[in-house]
C-alpha cells in the first residue's frame, strides 16, 4: 500500500475523532441544560458542565496535578502509569488465555469426545458474571504458596483476564482447525501423514484467518477483564481502580473522571494494535484461498 493511502487513512481516523468531539460540543452548545425530556423520560443527557465537561477541559486535565498534595505528579502521568500497569496484566492474561484456548481447540479438533465434553462448559463459562468469580479467584489463589512464591492480587487479575480471553480463541481456533478442504485432507491422507503432522502442515496454517479475529477479540476481552477485575478485587495501581477513585471527585472536578476512561480506551487501542502486528507477521497465511 502506498504512503499516500496510509496518510489518507490516518486523516480519516483523525476526522472521525474530531467528529465525535464536534458532536459532543455541538449538543452541549444547543441542548437544554436539563437534557431533552420526553414525557418525563430523559432521552438526551443534561448539558451542564457537571454532566458534560468541555472536550478541552477533559484533555486539559492531563497536564494538571493529581491533587493539591501531590503537586509533583500530573493526572497525565498518573493515568499513563496506570495504563502501563493494566496493560501488563492484560497482556499476561491474554497470553495465558491464548495458550489455554489454543490447547483446548486442538484437543477438541482432534477428539470428538473432547468437543462434546468441553464445548458446552466453555460456552457456559462465559455466562458467569465476572464480579462473581473475581473474589473466588482471589480467595483460592491466596491459598497457593509454592516455595517462596506467594500468589498476589496481580495474579488473580491476570487469571480473570485470561478467563475472558480464552473463549474467543478456543472457539475461533476450533473453527480454523476444522477449515481445511476435503481435498487437502484427502491429499495428506494419501501422503500417509498422521493427524499431528497434518496439524502442523495443514490445519495450523489454515486456521490463521480464523485465529486473527479471535486474537483481537481476546485482546479486547483481556483489557475489559483486567479493568473489571481490578475494580472487584480492589487492586491499586491500575486504570480500573483509578476510574473508581477519580469518579469520586466528579462533583468538584467533572473533567477528572474522564482521564482514566480515555486511558482505558488507549489501553484497548494498544492491545488491538499489537494483535494487528501479529496479523502482519502472519500475512503469508492470509492469502485468499485459491479458487
Amino acid at each position: 500500500m502506498s504512503a499516500l493511502r496510509y496518510a489518507g487513512r490516518a486523516l480519516l481516523g483523525a476526522l472521525g475523532i474530531l467528529a465525535v468531539a464536534g458532536l459532543w460540543e455541538g449538543y452541549k452548545a444547543v441542548g437544554p441544560g436539563d437534557g431533552v425530556v420526553v414525557h418525563g423520560v430523559v432521552v438526551l443527557p443534561r448539558t451542564t458542565d457537571l454532566a458534560m465537561p468541555h472536550v478541552w477541559d477533559m484533555f486539559g486535565k492531563f497536564s494538571e496535578p493529581v491533587n493539591l498534595f501531590a503537586g509533583h505528579q500530573t493526572v497525565g502521568s498518573a493515568v499513563l502509569s496506570g495504563c502501563w500497569f493494566t496493560l501488563r496484566l492484560a497482556a499476561t492474561g491474554w497470553v495465558i488465555g491464548v495458550v489455554v484456548g489454543f490447547v483446548l481447540a486442538i484437543l477438541m479438533a482432534r477428539f470428538r469426545l473432547a468437543e462434546s465434553a468441553m464445548l458446552p462448559w466453555i460456552v457456559l463459562s462465559q455466562t458467569v458474571p465476572l464480579i462473581a468469580i473475581a473474589p473466588l479467584v482471589r480467595r483460592w489463589g491466596s491459598q497457593i504458596h509454592i516455595g517462596g512464591w506467594v500468589w498476589s492480587s496481580e495474579n488473580s487479575v491476570a487469571v480473570i483476564a485470561a478467563y475472558l480471553a480464552f473463549f474467543p480463541v478456543a472457539v475461533g481456533a476450533l473453527r480454523g482447525l476444522r477449515s481445511p478442504d476435503a481435498t487437502h485432507l484427502d491429499l495428506l491422507h494419501a501422503y500417509g501423514v498422521g493427524w499431528w503432522r497434518g496439524l502442523v502442515k495443514l490445519r495450523l496454517p489454515a486456521s490463521v484467518p480464523y485465529l486473527l479475529p479471535a486474537l483481537r477479540l481476546a485482546a479486547a476481552s483481556a483489557v475489559i477483564g483486567t479493568v473489571v477485575a481490578e475494580v472487584s478485587i480492589g487492586l491499586r495501581g491500575g486504570i480500573g481502580r483509578m476510574i473508581i477513585e477519580y469518579a469520586q471527585s466528579a462533583g468538584g472536578d467533572p473533567a477528572k473522571p474522564w482521564a482514566p476512561i480515555f486511558g482505558a480506551i488507549g489501553v484497548g487501542l494498544v492491545a488491538a494494535g499489537a494483535v494487528g502486528l501479529i496479523g502482519l507477521l502472519l500475512r503469508p497465511y492470509r492469502r485468499g484461498e485459491a479458487a
Binding site: 478442504d181 491429499l187 494419501a190 500417509g192 485459491a290
Partner: protein
C-alpha cells in the same frame, strides 16, 4: 518392466449404509485390470461410482466386498509406499505456499533433503512449463496453471500410478484441450499408469488406451472400449478430427445411453457430449 498389474480389482463392491436400512449400492461387482503404463478412463453419469472406485484404489475409501490389489499389494500398503500420485477436480494447492513449495510438499513430508527436493521441483516445473512461476502463489495463477501445479505435485515422487479425479472438470474448453495434450506428453515421459475419471466422452477417448463405461444404481461396468489410436495416428490435435476418433466417441455414447435395460429414464444424465 514388471508384469505385475498396476491395479487389479475383482468383484469390488461398495455399499453406503443409509438410515432406515436403505443401503445405497455405489459399486457392484467391479472387475478391472490396469496394466503398467496403461491409460484407463472411467466414464459414466453422476452417481455411477467412478469417483468412489478411484477413491478406493487410493485407499481414501474402503470396499465393502471383493478384492483389490495395487502393484500386488493392498491399497493401504500402496498408499503408504507412495506408489501413486493423485490429483483432484480442485487443484487443492495450499494457498500459503509458493508454487515450488506446493510441488515439493509430498517430498517434504516424506523427508527428502532440501537439495534433492529443489532439483526435483525444478525438473517438474520445467515439465509442466511453469518454471517462471516457481515463486508465485496459487491465487496469482489461472485455473489451468493451478491444475498444472497439481499435476506436477502428483508426479513429484515419480509414482508408477497416477489417479486423477476429473482434474480438468473446472476448466474451460480451450484450456482443457491444451491440458489434455500436455497430459498425453507428460504421461508419455513418466511412463506411469493412469486411472482417469471424467464426465467428458471426447476427453476420455482422446486420452485413454481403454475407456471403462459405467452406469449408476448400482454402479457397474457396462463395457470397456478400446480407444488406442490405430492406423498410424498419434494422440495429437489431428487425432481429434480423425474418423476413428468420432467412431469411438459414438461407440462410448451409445453404451452410455443404452444404460441398464431396467431403467426407463435416460441414464446418461450428467455426461457431457462435447
Amino acid at each position: 518392466m514388471t508384469t505385475e498389474l498396476a491395479v487389479q480389482a475383482r468383484g469390488l463392491g461398495r455399499v453406503f449404509g443409509a438410515r432406515k436400512g436403505r443401503d445405497v449400492v455405489a459399486l457392484d461387482d467391479i472387475d478391472l485390470d490396469i496394466a503398467p503404463g496403461e491409460f484407463v478412463s472411467l466414464i459414466g453419469p453422476s452417481g455411477c461410482g467412478k469417483s468412489t472406485l478411484l477413491r478406493i484404489v487410493a485407499d481414501l475409501d474402503a470396499p465393502t466386498s471383493g478384492s483389490l490389489s495395487v502393484f500386488g499389494k493392498s491399497a493401504q500398503q500402496a498408499r503408504l509406499d507412495q506408489d501413486y500420485g493423485i490429483a483432484f477436480q480442485q487443484a487443492g494447492l495450499l494457498p500459503w505456499r509458493s508454487v515450488a513449495a506446493n510441488v515439493g510438499l509430498p517430498l517434504e513430508v516424506h523427508g527428502a533433503g532440501k537439495r534433492e527436493r529443489d532439483a526435483r521441483v525444478a525438473e517438474l516445473l520445467d515439465m509442466v512449463g511453469l518454471t517462471d512461476f516457481a515463486r508465485s502463489y496459487p491465487d496469482q495463477l489461472s485455473g489451468g496453471m493451478q491444475q498444472r501445479v497439481a499435476i506436477a505435485r502428483a508426479l513429484a515422487e515419480s509414482p508408477r500410478l497416477l489417479l486423477m479425479d476429473e482434474p480438468f472438470g473446472a476448466l474451460d474448453e480451450i484450456t482443457r484441450e491444451r491440458m489434455q495434450a500436455e497430459l498425453v506428453r507428460i504421461c508419455g515421459e513418466s511412463g506411469a499408469a493412469v486411472l482417469f475419471v471424467t464426465h467428458s466422452i471426447p476427453e476420455a477417448v482422446f486420452l485413454s488406451d481403454r475407456v471403462v463405461v459405467m452406469t449408476p444404481r448400482p454402479g457397474r461396468i457396462v463395457d470397456i472400449v478400446d480407444s488406442r489410436p490405430v492406423g498410424g495416428h498419434r494422440r495429437d490435435d489431428d487425432f481429434r478430427d480423425a474418423a476413428e476418433f468420432f467412431h469411438t466417441v459414438a461407440r462410448v455414447r451409445e453404451l452410455l445411453h443404452a444404460g441398464p435395460a431396467s431403467h426407463a429414464v435416460p441414464a446418461a444424465r450428467g455426461v457431457e457430449n462435447r
